[in-house]
Amino acid sequence: MTFDRLHRIVTLGVIACGLGALHFSGEFPIWVSLSAFLVSVAGVKLHPRFKANWVIRAAGVVTAIAGIAFLWLAISDEDYLYWAIIFAIFLGAVKSLMLRNDADFMQMYALTFLHVMAAAVVNPGISFGVLMFPYVILLVLGLQLTNLRKGIQGQALEGAKTGDLQTERRLNLALARRDLIHGGFISVTVGVTLSVFLISLVFFFIFPRLGFGFFAQQSRRGMAMTGFSDQVNLGDFGNIAEDLQVVMRVKSPNAQLPLRMRGQSLDFYDGKSWKKTTHRRRPMVVDSDGIARVGRGLDPLEGVVAQEIYLEPLAGSPRVLFGMSTPVAYQRPPNALEALRPKKWRFFRDLAGDVVLTGPDAVSIVYTAYSEVSDFNPQALRVAGNHYDERLLELYTELPPLNPLVEQLASDVVAGQNNPYDIAQAIVSFFHKEFSYSLNSSHGDYDPLADFLLNNREGHCEYFASGMVILLRQLGIPARIVNGFAGGIHNEYGDYFALRKSDAHSWVEVYFPDNGWVTFDPTPPAFLTSRASPGLLASLMEAMDAVQLAWYRWVVEYNLEKQISFLSALFSLKKDNENSFTGANSLTRNDIRQLWYRLKALPWGYFGLALLLIPPLGIVFIRLLRTPKKKKLGDQRDPAVKAYNQLRRELKSKGYIKAPTETQLDFAKRVGAENPELYDHLMTTTWAYLEAVFNPKA
């Protein structure tokens, strides 16, 4: 491949990486980046057609007009960033057609750098990180090739007239060289690329995360997810079940698959949608350990299951917190720096006992949920009775006007059962036996639940859970629908449980006096198998998710806490907790104080002195390095040379040193004159040495 072709292809790669990083943000329609890329591809082949001066002038005019148009769109849209980025893409596309000399290539790289900067703002996803690798490799190579192109141009155009045909021919010939890219160049490029990666990472991790950025938190676009607001239309929640995007990751020594993470309950059904009428929330009291308890008691937290949860940013606020049934407390990682942030995290609990968290929008949340996971004794539930609190009955037995056949169905299904537990179990069995799980069923708009119960007995979890709640309420038993996640996979690479959007699930909680809310799941267990992915794909996705989590934790959400944690680990103040989602292992005020003392105790005066001494010492060192070493004459292995050197050393010990102006023979004669007994020996050895050095072949 010729030098010119290689340079253009590498540049195309750089452009593609920049455009890719922007495209995968999902902010721009595909035609924007695709058309820019296609124009750049065309530029590799068609660039000679865009050399004429009038074309360049025309491109300038078009760019100016486009700039005005984009400005107008930005003003009318009030989305300046969006249109500025599209204009940058447009500029890159135009420039890619007109890559003539080294300056053009440099401008092209500057534009791609601008694309990457923009992508850093709009695309925090792993795609940005993945594309940064080829981008840096190709950018380093492209910049080096541009440097060589500058040299080639300099050689070819030296003293030549611009636009001259002969000069043009000479330049084209020079650019068609194939011998410049050899092993040496490639090894230098590899070394440079690795160094760029290494230094970038060092800078990234050590650059202090202070300044204004400290007060903000790393935000990402919130994942759209229905089912966790105060109103959910019947059918909406179950329909998200085909999306494999990970919503939360759970670490818990007691967790087992399938994992069931409870989110929020809904109490009021109007025939078409579920609503939360218990949405009045009160702030929860947080103790000195940062623990917010849902109910009274359980102090200390013993016999409960702790789950550390990494919750992806979800659209909407406040954020519903998840935990295994039944959550009794929640805890944010205690952090001394948290208090400095203007927007603080606060726990709120509603009347139904569901807990939400308020705080910065569109950020991931790491917290620990403590749950009381106990297997209820069926016998105890059977004898729990049906003496319910009036307020409870009011909330959880209310029903919309129902189809009479549904009322009849409730009586038929539970015929012969005489306690709430057996009734609930009978309804669950009824659904498992008589209904089938389907994501593609349709139940119309009029009375979807009646259609599901009486006609088309296919549906997803939401229909099952709603059907069971309706039937129970019909029989006067308090019940509610609960939305959360069930299923999940164990990620071997990251050693955590991942729950995806497709694991969204609805089930039922039934109230038993003295026992509280007990979970029943009327959905046939087939729903779990329907969400499983094929083996290889699942494994790939697990690996990808582990990488993505690492990307989020260590790059996108890297912050001052993690930096201090590193420093603390460096000073052996504490161990960095690698296995935790926070990375920083619960940084406290005491840790920071200890770190400050250690830093203060360092000999800063000596460091300052060393800094002052480094330049002069460096200069002396460089001078010493530059002083050429005196080259020893002759083959040092030659016996004659060895004998002469030995003689010189012996004479030196006796005080005879050869003057720089003396020849070896003069020296031998001088010493011989003072020591006649040595004269012959001195002359013989010296002559042998001179023969060995100056006439070695003889």
């Binding site: 850093a120 440097n147 230098v188 230094i199 990234f204 790393q218 912050n559």
Partner: protein, 342 residues
């Protein structure tokens, strides 16, 4: 002030390396500063990452340009005889003393005060090899210039910085005045009847005489036996018939405060002398500051131009130039005197 400091650093021997930003380098530093501010301001970690990449590019650029210059040597050029205002091509020999990695994008040129230079470029210098490249030098005016050494420079790898290293090698470069073509063509006034003139030393076949060896003489013309007996090198001169000798009499005294007209006269004198010598004439040069005895051939051209390269411009005074020049020119009676005045 900044320019003076930059010039001091560039000329100083204390700083073995010189580093200057290219246009692209300045742009990158500006972008990096902007990125740093944006990253600190927003706390966006990906901006920190891009900022890290830009800093890495700057650091690697500095380190690698240093590594790229290590072990690269340029042999100093000597014997340059440039003419003021005319580009002079000089061949440079560049050697890589390295054992492993090649050097890329090397530029080399002699560092001469006040002279502008176009460097010789080598794209790829393999370890242990020697290559030749040509650089171009232009000197603004005649005179003696100090050459400080040879400059080896590189913008490798990213063209963000230009790092230069001066290999010290002090010498001087004598720059000849411009050769202004004489206004006349054809026979010169006063040269009529050349055939009747008496024989003089010059181009011919007959023996004319001997004289001491002078700079510019062809060493082949040295008479070795005679030189040995006289203990000084002696050359043979041939008789050139029909050639009349001429004295170019240059008045190197300023008539006004402006020295430019004297410089112009020097250039005209140089052009005239070279023109006459190229016509095969014997030409001498006399000025108010000395002169060059008549002679012919390439050697005489060199002697006259060497003299004219450094002939001083005298301040205006009352002394008559004619008396001084005439007395000098009287050493060769019969020669025609051609006056060149400011």
């Amino acid at each position: 002030m900044a320019n003076r400091l930059e010039d001091f650093v560039w000329r100083s021997d204390f700083f073995p390396r010189k580093l200057s930003f290219t246009k692209e380098g300045k742009a990158l530093v500006a972008i990096s500063i902007g990125l740093g501010i944006a990253a600190v301001n927003t706390g966006n970690n990906l901006l920190y990452l891009v900022f890290g990449i830009s800093l890495a590019l700057i650091i690697i650029s500095g380190l690698l340009s240093e590594a790229n210059l290590r072990g690269v040597l340029v042999k100093p050029v000597s014997g340059l005889r440039p003419i003021a205002g005319q580009p002079l091509s000089a061949v440079l020999t560049v050697t890589s003393n390295r054992t492993r990695f090649p050097a890329f994008s090397i530029e080399a040129w002699p560092l001469v005060e006040q002279a502008s230079s176009t460097p010789g470029r080598i794209l790829d210098l393999s370890p242990g090899t020697t290559v030749e490249t040509a650089c171009s030098l232009v000197f603004p005016k005649r005179g003696l210039y100090q050459m400080k050494g040879m400059v080896v420079a590189t913008e490798f790898p990213f063209s963000f910085f230009k790092k230069s290293l001066i290999i010290s090698s002090k010498s001087t470069v004598l720059v000849y005045p411009r050769l202004k073509k004489p206004a006349f063509t054809g026979a010169l006034v006063g040269f009529e009847g050349e055939d009747e003139s008496r024989p003089v030393a010059g181009r011919g076949v007959e023996f004319f005489g001997v004289r001491d060896f002078r700079q510019g003489d062809n060493p082949r013309r040295v008479l070795h036996r005679l030189s040995a007996s006289k203990q000084v090198p002696v050359v043979r001169e041939d008789e050139q018939l029909g050639v009349q000798s001429a004295w170019v009499a240059l008045v190197n005294r300023a008539t006004t405060k402006d020295e430019a007209d004297v410089e112009d006269a020097i250039e005209r004198a140089a052009g005239l002398a070279v023109y006459l010598i190229n016509q095969g004439r014997m030409v001498g040069l006399s000025t108010m500051s000395g002169g060059v005895p008549p002679g012919t051939g390439e050697g005489q051209v060199t002697r006259i131009l060497d003299f004219l390269a450094t002939v001083p411009v005298l301040p205006a005074n009352d002394k008559s130039p004619e008396s001084i020049i005439d007395s000098f020119a009287a050493q060769a009676p019969g020669a025609k005197l051609l006056w060149v005045r400011p």
